[in-house]
């Protein structure tokens, strides 16, 4: 029979300890905000200051006008194609467009696919604008400064009549990178900090000898972990609240669903992180060894759980691992709640069901390990 009084005593102690540790409080509340701001700007997808050379050998005015009007480009007018090649090789230009009456050649630095992609798409858009695609031929010449002299040539016929593409968003909203990543990162920071703090806290209980003392007191293992859950949940809520505020008000990510539903997902994920931290602390002898869990436990989740890119883009051979990671489900659930306005009922299966299952299994394993380690 669980004694809620004792759970409360442990929770109060955890809160008292954390409250006194100002640096950790700062880490808990400010680090996620810092990370979000960092991710927000890094992932905005917007480029600027791309140095593009233009070699005009009698091009159509509209093509040139389009390219010079793109605000991401810093345009440099060059006299010859060989000048452009030289400057790209030296890293002074990101690419160049050689424009003639009947052709367009795009010279690119292959070391940055994103920049190359921007130049190619804007060059294509310029051609389409010119409305004279029929006569034109575009040749792409890829330059790689890493292997000078071994240029890869690519020719591509531009179809005479391009189909007009119309884009329609199913839930009426033009998502930017941050909108999709924000909700998932919210889960990531809560998981990361709760896991680390739990692993270190349980390790300390063991090294301080307090765990052994608990074992000879009326406090049960379940009450001890429940006390930690209650104490840490308070901090997880503060952490997710500050992170949510930044995600919503700084980055303008919508909150279409209920904040309470989002918190429920976060608490369940925080619980799973705590029990996993407690379980894995059994395999560490020092705080230094706990930090070594980061590349083993946290990094695979950041890469494989669909935080930054969809799980569907992860190779099929590795994907089964993705479906075993709690962050895969929290990312999906938080996206659904925030972007689509999903209710609890919409995310029960598989997201909440998996998170609850993961929590229960790791809780049982953590309790069993506490037993074994002390015995």
């Amino acid at each position: 029979m669980i004694s809620w009084d004792r759970v409360l005593v442990v929770a109060l102690r955890v809160v008292r300890q954390l409250k006194r540790d100002r640096r950790t409080i700062g880490m808990i509340t400010l680090a996620p905000v810092f990370l979000m701001v960092l991710f927000g700007y890094a992932l905005s997808g917007e480029m600027s200051g791309v140095r593009l050379g233009i070699v005009d050998v009698g091009a159509d005015g509209e093509v040139r006008d389009h390219l010079t009007s793109v605000k991401d480009f810093e345009i440099l007018h060059l006299g010859s194609e060989s000048d452009a090649e030289k400057m790209i090789s030296e890293g002074r230009l990101s690419g160049a467009v050689v424009m003639g009456k009947t052709f367009m050649r795009v010279l690119l630095d292959a070391s940055s696919p994103q920049v190359a992609g921007l130049i190619t798409s804007e060059a294509g858009a310029a051609l389409q604008k010119a409305g004279d695609a029929k006569e034109n031929t575009r040749e792409g010449l890829l330059l790689s400064p890493a292997s000078p002299g071994s240029y890869m040539e690519m020719e591509q016929q531009i179809l005479p009549a391009r189909p007009v593409m119309e884009i329609r968003y199913v839930y009426g909203y033009d998502l930017e990178m941050m909108d999709s990543v924000g909700p998932a990162v919210l889960g990531l920071v809560v998981f990361f900090f709760t896991f680390l703090m739990a692993a270190i806290s349980f390790l300390r209980e063991r090294t301080l000898g307090t765990l052994e003392k608990f074992m000879v007191s009326p406090l049960t293992r379940l009450e001890m972990i429940a006390g930690y859950l209650a104490g840490f949940s308070l901090f997880s809520l503060i952490q997710s609240a500050t992170t949510l505020l930044v995600v919503i008000f700084v980055f303008g990510v919508p909150m279409r669903g209920s904040v309470l539903t989002a918190f429920l997902v976060i608490l369940l994920l925080g619980g799973a992180a705590l029990t996993l931290g407690s379980l894995l602390s059994n395999f560490a002898r020092s705080e230094f060894q706990v930090v070594q869990f980061i590349p083993v436990v946290i990094l695979p989740q950041t890469v494989l759980s669909g935080v930054w890119w969809p799980v569907q883009s992860i190779p099929a051979s590795v994907r089964p691992i993705s479906y075993l990671l709690p962050l895969t489900y929290s990312s999906d659930a938080l996206r659904q709640v925030m972007l689509k306005g999903a209710s609890i009922g919409d995310i029960i299966y598989p997201d909440l069901a998996f998170l609850a299952g993961f929590f229960i299994i790791t809780l049982a394993a953590a309790i069993a390990m506490l037993n074994r380690k002390v015995g």
């Binding site: 109060l12 102690r13 300890q17 301080l208 000898g209 052994e212 074992m215 000879v216 007191s217 009326p218």
Partner: protein
């Protein structure tokens, strides 16, 4: 007010054994610790003292034998945890909590709250002489103060059975005396205290002493019983006028059946009991004299030699 409901021995061990891998730590150990007494477990490092204490509280399972706490088989010891106080060598405390908060936390675990908790905490802080420091962080305390706080946390729920693994390391002699006064008060109220220590003068204060070696109990009894078991007797040291007088006195005493020898300029006479001192002084008239009681330490050295 502590008073044990159980009249039999607080701890009863019969032929208990425990092996860790290839190492046999407890070898058919037999110990009986009576209720309401202070029992000191002495022995060299690795003799199995801590293993025995951990077995009593159920932290390690035994390979064989019968171990009972308050008459209950050790398997059910978890039901007795509110009656047991266990102080480990780790001095389990939270350095980032204040003294008051540490005590409040351990009080809370035993369901002691509100006014009762405040009263108990005040009493214990008084006993361990830490009252002026109650608001300080435990991590800022000196080693001895930390030790005293750890003891206070162990005593918070007035346990009937106290298991103290080296409780007075780093505690100054004056405070050690306070501890022992408190321990004696507890045993007079019915508590049983089992202490492990390396300090012989601590063992002298216990009603019963058990000497463990190599996983077995080599000897058990009151400190006086152990000394006589080791064959140790009090001796008398006599200082005579000069060296020749010393040799004459030694020879005279030997003639009267005493074991006497000249050692460092003085005559040493072994006595069967203190009452023989008067007979010695009737035979010789020294300038000065001193009576030497055998120590427990000598007893264990002697017992150890006998084992070898």
């Amino acid at each position: 007010m502590i008073s044990s409901k159980y009249a039999g021995p607080a701890v009863f061990a019969r032929k208990i054994s425990k092996r860790f891998g290839k190492l046999q730590v407890l070898k058919n150990l037999d110990i009986k610790i009576p209720n309401a007494t202070t029992y000191c477990l002495l022995g060299p490092n690795g003799s199995g003292k801590t293993t025995f204490i951990r077995a009593i509280v159920g932290l390690i399972g035994l390979d064989g034998g019968d171990l009972r706490v308050f008459g209950e088989p050790v398997k059910g010891v978890a039901g007795l945890y509110s009656r047991i106080g266990y102080m480990t060598q780790h001095k389990a405390l939270y350095p980032d909590l204040t003294l008051q908060e540490n005590l409040e936390f351990f009080a809370g675990l035993y369901g002691i709250r509100g006014l009762a908790a405040r009263k108990r905490i005040d009493e214990l802080l008084d006993m361990v002489d830490l009252k002026p420091h109650r608001g300080r962080l435990a991590g800022d305390l000196s080693g001895g103060m930390y030790q005293r706080l750890s003891l206070a946390c162990t005593l918070i729920h007035e346990p009937e059975l106290l298991l103290l693994d080296e409780p007075t390391v780093g505690v100054d002699p004056r405070l050690r005396q306070t501890f022992w006064d408190y321990f004696n008060r507890l045993t007079s109220q019915g508590a049983t205290i089992l202490i492990t220590t390396h300090l012989m003068d601590e063992a002298e204060r216990c009603r019963l002493v058990g000497y463990m070696r190599d996983g077995r109990l080599e000897a058990q009894g009151s400190p006086d019983e152990l000394k006589s078991l080791a064959g140790l007797k009090p001796d008398l040291q006599l200082w005579m006028q000069d060296e020749s007088a010393s040799y004459s006195a030694a020879s005279l005493l030997a003639d009267h059946g005493f074991s006497a020898r000249v050692e460092e300029g003085a005559v040493r006479v072994e006595l069967a009991s203190e009452s023989q001192a008067a007979e010695v002084l009737r035979l010789v008239k020294p300038l000065d004299l001193r009576m030497h009681e055998p120590t427990l330490s000598q007893a264990f050295l002697k017992l150890g030699e006998a084992d070898r």
